[in-house]
């Protein structure tokens, strides 16, 4: 435990009761959705941690647990060395101020009856800060996120999707947070707008010393944004590593499958896309043993035995950040993943060569 660690998550579990009929409830026969099933990791100051996975893997629930919107079923989350349950009301207030969230859908996360100035001011009012300079602060924040300060009195419907996401970011920044939790920050946006928002987020991080937790299904967004990446499947981490290591030397068969399935805008690579068979199993009744064994090309009988649910383990003593949950990890070869940025066109066009 160092001072650098902002979040310390250990053995986190979050189960939801499946809503069912009154008789099932009376008979105490409810199913549980195991959204998060034993996840441990830490977030250090100044870094960007990514959580990547397919729909239903529990990544958004994880984000909600991190900002204390959900009570964990088991396990604990510490913020700055202290468990959430132990916070007194003052500490809870400052936690709520220091950790802010940016949501996926900028249309539904803004109140359409309020001007964006009112929306951006609300967190400052709640926390009682910038009391005499809130209008000034709104103008400053709008400029900071690339919007004209003159837009302050407009309503959300007057903005495009990308502009609304900028408003959502301005709102999150209004109370000088230390951590931003970004849940699919660009997946509702057009490709050309995604790049603008990603650039903006990187600039803000540099200028304001922010720590980011980025939740996304998009591997290329995760790679661009993050220092460290966790790959999540059915409520568990399959692999966690520094970003450059994860993308150049993936070890877990699921990480490899995700990378193989990624449609890259390079025809030579995209045509070699490989297919992972099967569907994600139900989180109500996840497979025994390793949760990925039903789709894994390397699965053996051992993998399905319940005592063999693999833990995240370091695979390389020189790199303790790289941990993999797979008993076959030595057999995962790297021959079928070759990401060569020299193949095809890498998207760098010299403007000088472009005659006008």
């Amino acid at each position: 435990m160092t001072d650098k660690e902002l979040f310390q998550v250990s053995g986190l579990k979050k189960y939801f009761d499946q809503s069912q009929g009154i008789i099932d409830r009376y008979l105490n026969d409810t199913d549980q959705v195991k959204a998060i099933n034993g996840v441990s990791f830490a977030v250090e100051r100044g870094e960007t941690v990514g959580v990547v996975g397919e729909s239903g893997c529990g990544k958004s629930t994880l984000a909600r647990c991190l900002i204390n919107l959900e009570n964990p079923t088991d396990g604990e989350i510490k913020y700055k060395g202290k468990k959430f349950e132990k916070f007194d009301s003052g500490e809870m207030d400052s936690f709520r101020k220091e950790v802010q969230m940016v949501f996926q859908d900028p249309a539904s996360s803004l109140n359409r009856r309020k001007t964006i100035s009112q929306t951006i001011k609300a967190p400052m009012e709640i926390h009682g800060i910038y009391e005499n300079s809130r209008d000034e602060r709104v103008r400053e924040l709008l400029e900071r996120v690339g919007l004209s300060p003159d837009y302050a009195n407009r309503y959300p419907h007057e903005f495009s999707g990308g502009q609304r996401q900028r408003v959502g970011i301005a709102r999150a920044l209004s109370v000088d947070p230390e951590v931003l939790i970004l849940d699919e920050p660009v997946s509702a946006l057009d490709v050309s707008i995604q790049a603008q928002i990603l650039n903006l987020l990187k600039d803000l991080q540099d200028d304001l010393d922010l720590t980011f937790v980025v939740i996304s299904h998009d591997l290329s967004v995760i790679e661009y944004m993050c220092n460290r990446v966790a790959v999540m499947y059915l409520g568990e981490f399959m692999e966690i590593a520094n970003s450059d290591v994860l993308f150049s030397n993936p070890q877990h068969p699921y990480t490899k499958a995700l990378l193989d399935a990624l449609p890259q805008p390079v025809p030579e690579l995209a045509r070699k896309r490989k297919t992972l068979e099967g569907n994600v199993p139900s989180p109500i009744n996840p497979p025994s043993g390793c949760v990925f064994h039903t789709r894994c090309p390397l699965a053996t009988e051992e993998c399905s035995e319940s005592r063999n649910d693999p833990e995240l383990n370091s695979i390389d003593q020189s790199d303790e950040n790289h941990k993999v949950a797979c008993i076959h990890v030595d057999e995962v070869t790297n021959d079928n993943l070759k990401v060569d940025s020299n193949i095809g066109n890498d998207g760098n066009y010299e403007v000088e060569n472009f005659n006008s």
């Binding site: 397919e54 729909s55 495009s160 990308g162 502009q163 057009d190 490709v191 050309s192 707008i193 995604q194 790049a195 603008q196 990603l198 650039n199 990187k202 299904h217 591997l219 290329s220 967004v221 790679e223 661009y224 993308f247 150049s248 499958a257 995700l258 990378l259 399935a261 990624l262 449609p263 890259q264 805008p265 390079v266 025809p267 690579l269 995209a270 045509r271 896309r273 490989k274 297919t275 992972l276 068979e277 569907n279 994600v280 990401v339 060569d340 940025s341 095809g344 066109n345 890498d346 998207g347 760098n348 066009y349 403007v351 472009f354 005659n355 006008s356």
Partner: protein
Amino acid sequence: MLLILVTKESNRLMTEKILEVDNLTTSFDTEEGTVRAVNNISFSIEEGETMGIVGESGSGKSVTALSVMRLIESNGSIENGTIHYRGSNLLEKTESEIQSIRGSEISMVFQDTLDSLNPVYTIGTQINRVIRKHRDMDNKEAREETIRLLEQVGIPNAEERIDDYPHQFSGGMRQRALIAMAISCNPSVLIADEPTTALDVTIEAQIFEVLDKIQHETGMSIIVITHDLGVVAGVCDFVNVMYGGEIVEKSKTDDIFGDPQHPYTRGLLRSIPRIGKEEDRLRGIEGNVPNPAALPSGCTFHPRCPHATDECRQHDPSLQEVKRNHRAACIHIDGYKSLHKEDKEIIINDRKKGESDD
């Protein structure tokens, strides 16, 4: 004798292109005035080919598909152009003639599988109905055919799953079922409008594998409409890039990605972070996607284009061949000016006009 040979030859040429769209313009009456969603676009597709239409929201790519299917809503109309399917113009057909083509000769798969399927009928009933409308089969034969189709698109236990309702299928399975429905009458052209946008990447790869397999078996042509350049790179033989209702660049897939010409295509490709490439910043495109109800004058891309000049603001460039089989609509591309005197004259005239106005 010669005459017969000539007709035969021309017949052969006629059948090569399955679908030919020429100068299609589709507009809608809205509260904001007339919106020209698709503006004078042309493309064609041959048997067994896969063509991509790629663009951002509001670029007109879905309206293009709906125009070909003659499914434009009542506030919209096809103002201009022709759509030839196997040599006959679809726009001249009556509604009942179109109905016998739609779903049978040309069929479509949509993005949202829950909206496309009726929740109160089983999957089997819905596919059955399409088969019995277009093919001469009784109920029992149609059911057997439905099971065969579900197996073909990779649904396990098809014999049992045929009686499931849509909510009992996962998203990927529903898309497979919709593909089964779309191919049930052996269409010559399948239009897939964002077929995998709602699906996870691993499921997306499965769906395109199924489409590829069916294309190999039946030789149908596929039009893929998507915002995802990665999908286009993986499955299409050639690509049309749409922006503001117009096609701004078209070529073979390898040329679009390997040597993009239009500033919009270049910007779009730069906007995507690449795996395995150290990037500090993405050099994407400035500004916002234009509102189709208020398109800029001249070249629709000029407000966001780093190369825009006064000429661009006044003059809407048409698609011109800038390289072999590679066409783009931008007056600042090298090959463009020398090749196309007409455009040059227009520009010069515009300039003169501008000067005299001053």
